[in-house]
């Protein structure tokens, strides 16, 4: 294997990306590098806000989010006159700074590839995929923390659940976590003025729902399956429960309440800064659609070898739609399983 000398070139980067593409298409390799991103997938599926990257670096503002606001106006007497129309509905927008900035670094020793079966490009490809997985899962963990912080007050204080004024959760007994709960959940959504609610859950209800949907063909199972399917439900079996442990939670969220934003500074084409000895570019995440990671590359002499150094970082955050019809109702309700 010939030793690659000099900087990690654009051509080598292309080769690395190509190798990563091939590895990603292999099921076994993909299993090693695919992140668990249920939270992110759910939020992006239900996001209707428009996020625009702010390119001006002077401000501590990274993104501008355009939220859909359906509120405004008031009820008046109908005087029967020809006047038609009222206040203009607005799309509210706000600028935000991205609070989370995480990085993952790896080094590659050039001279190890003199007798190695792998090329440097392959090792770098694996480094990028590892960084992608780690950062993607970190993003999801951060999102769970944010969602938890966004939870509002449930105005429904009767029925199957009971509002815990200390924790802010709506506590539901373990025995009630089955398909019959959906009648209550629909009432909660309606009474909290959710226009289009969905559920984001850890392991709560996962197995019971699985069984119910499997039994849909049975005469007795149809009802349970129909109830479970009456509200869109997303599961993340890896990121929600560990973050909130020992609590086991499910979130009832109104569509459009959340918006995820991330920002990469560098363009996709590598730029070399000879003076600083750096090369900067961004690469697309394979796990999180729409997310790009910034990469900073440099190399340095270390004893008898050359060390190629890569730092992959991402800036991101999750935001709450502040234009809800009632400022006390956030669009996020935390449902907590209690008891055994």
């Amino acid at each position: 294997m010939p030793v690659q000398t000099g900087d990690f070139s654009a051509s080598q980067l292309r080769t690395s990306i190509s190798r990563a593409d091939k590895m990603w298409s292999d099921d076994m390799m993909q299993a090693e590098f695919k992140a668990n991103t249920g939270v992110y997938d759910a939020v992006k599926a239900e996001q209707n806000a428009n996020v625009r990257i702010l390119e001006e670096p002077s401000k501590d503002r990274d993104v501008k989010i355009h939220w859909i606001n359906a509120c405004g106006g008031k009820v008046e007497d109908n005087d029967g006159l020809c006047e038609i129309g009222g206040d203009e509905l607005s799309s509210d927008s706000k600028e935000y700074g991205l609070k989370f900035d995480k990085k993952f670094s790896f080094n590659v020793d050039e001279y190890k590839f003199r007798t190695n079966d792998y090329s440097m490009e392959e090792v770098v490809a694996k480094g990028f995929m590892r960084a992608d997985k780690m950062l993607s899962e970190q993003i999801c963990k951060s999102m769970v923390a944010r969602i938890e912080s966004f939870k509002g007050t449930n105005v429904v204080n009767d029925g199957t659940g009971s509002v815990n004024t200390v924790s802010g959760n709506t506590d539901i007994q373990a025995a009630d976590w089955n398909e019959r709960l959906f009648a209550y959940l629909h009432r909660v959504a309606i009474q909290n003025e959710f226009s289009n609610g969905f559920l984001l859950s850890g392991t709560n209800m996962y197995e019971d729902r699985f069984l119910a949907l499997s039994n849909v063909g049975n005469g007795e199972g149809k009802g349970a399956a129909k109830l479970y399917q009456s509200m869109r439900t997303y599961f993340d079996l890896f990121n929600i429960d560990p973050q909130l442990s020992p609590e086991l939670k499910t979130y009832l969220i109104n569509r459009g309440s959340l918006a995820f934003a991330s920002k990469s500074i560098y363009g996709a084409v590598p730029k070399t800064y000879i003076g600083a000895g750096h090369q900067h570019y961004s690469i697309a995440s394979r796990n999180l659609a729409g997310v790009r990671f910034d990469v900073k590359y440099t190399n340095a002499c270390k004893e008898k070898t050359m060390m190629h150094k890569f730092t992959v970082n991402v800036k991101y955050d999750l935001f709450l739609n502040y234009t809800g019809c009632n400022e006390e109702r956030t669009g996020v309700i935390a449902l907590n399983k209690v008891g055994s």
Binding site: Q47, A284, G290
Partner: protein
């Protein structure tokens, strides 16, 4: 009517060559004084007759046994014949020694004649028959060599042509892919359709013209309506348009978020554009399309 005994007597005398007395002794019983009693038959007539007959036959056999005489005669004839033959051989082959007989004579003749007829290699080579055969064989060998040289050259040329055609057909598919044809969703059907397309180019011959490949048809260069030569890439382009529809490419982006990045549709003109398009592509599929387009436009 003659009496049976008289008939028998007559028979014995004639067929068995017995005398009257011998026949009578056999047929009639002898009295005690030894005289023949013609009034009584010999009770052992049958046995005595058979015995007498056996002796008669034995006598006959001794009289006609001539094998010894025959052998003597045969050997004599054989000897005479051989002597005549040996005499002729001596005369024909000028052999003076009369003590040589039989196989010794034959061996002597063969050895003598073999020595007399031994030719040197040079003599053989000068012989007209040899020269004629040599010329004939040489001509035959040269003819065969020419024939097989032509066959080998034909095979080599044919092999090269088939390899060139194989490479060109592969290139045709790459150029087709770069144009993003609308293909069946089923992978096998799509592959078959592309293969059928590539087989269209079997009908032509090809000739290198610098870096390009000229298309020949019926031994002549293929030309367009304006008399311009047609090159392989042009042929693929026009042919593909006759067989396929092509997708319109849309710029892809994440819903609700401006990415400001993404690959373009056109094949990059230089490596800088290629790098830009490649790095800005968001998915492996987009990158592969860009790579395919670049490779097709820049064959190695």
């Amino acid at each position: 009517m003659p009496k049976l005994d008289k008939v028998l007597l007559s028979f014995l005398q004639k067929a068995h060559r017995m005398t009257k007395e011998q026949a009578a002794e056999l047929l009639y019983k002898k009295s005690e004084d030894g005289t023949i009693n013609e009034e009584e038959f010999n009770e052992n007539f049958e046995a005595d007759l058979l015995k007498a007959d056996q002796e008669r036959v034995k006598t006959l056999q001794e009289k006609v046994d001539t094998s010894k005489k025959f052998d003597e005669g045969y050997n004599k004839a054989k000897k005479e014949t051989l002597e005549k033959f040996e005499k002729k051989l001596r005369k024909d082959f000028s052999v003076k020694d009369e003590k040589l007989n039989g196989t010794d004579l034959i061996k002597h003749i063969v050895n003598t004649k073999s020595e007399q007829s031994k030719l040197s290699a040079d003599d053989v080579k000068k012989h007209p028959l040899f020269l004629e055969l040599e010329a004939s064989k040489t001509e035959e060998i040269e003819k065969l060599a020419t024939e097989y040289d032509a066959k080998i050259e034909g095979l080599e040329t044919g092999y090269q042509k088939s390899q060139t055609l194989k490479d060109l057909k592969k290139r045709a598919i790459t150029l087709l892919d770069a144009k993003k044809p609308v293909l069946p969703k089923d992978a096998v059907a799509a592959s078959n359709q592309k293969e059928l397309f590539a087989n269209i180019f079997d009908a032509y011959e090809y000739q290198k013209d610098g870096e390009k490949t000229l298309v020949l048809e019926d031994g002549k260069r293929k030309e367009d309506a304006h008399g311009n030569p047609i090159y392989f890439e042009d042929l693929v382009d026009t042919t593909s348009s006759q067989y396929f529809e092509f997708q319109k490419q849309n710029k892809k982006g994440t819903p609700g978020e401006e990415s400001g990045q993404g690959g373009g549709n056109a094949v990059p003109k230089n490596e800088e554009e290629f790098n830009k398009a490649y790095f800005e592509a968001n998915t492996p599929e987009e990158r592969q399309e860009i790579q395919d387009g670049w490779d097709a436009a820049n064959p190695e």
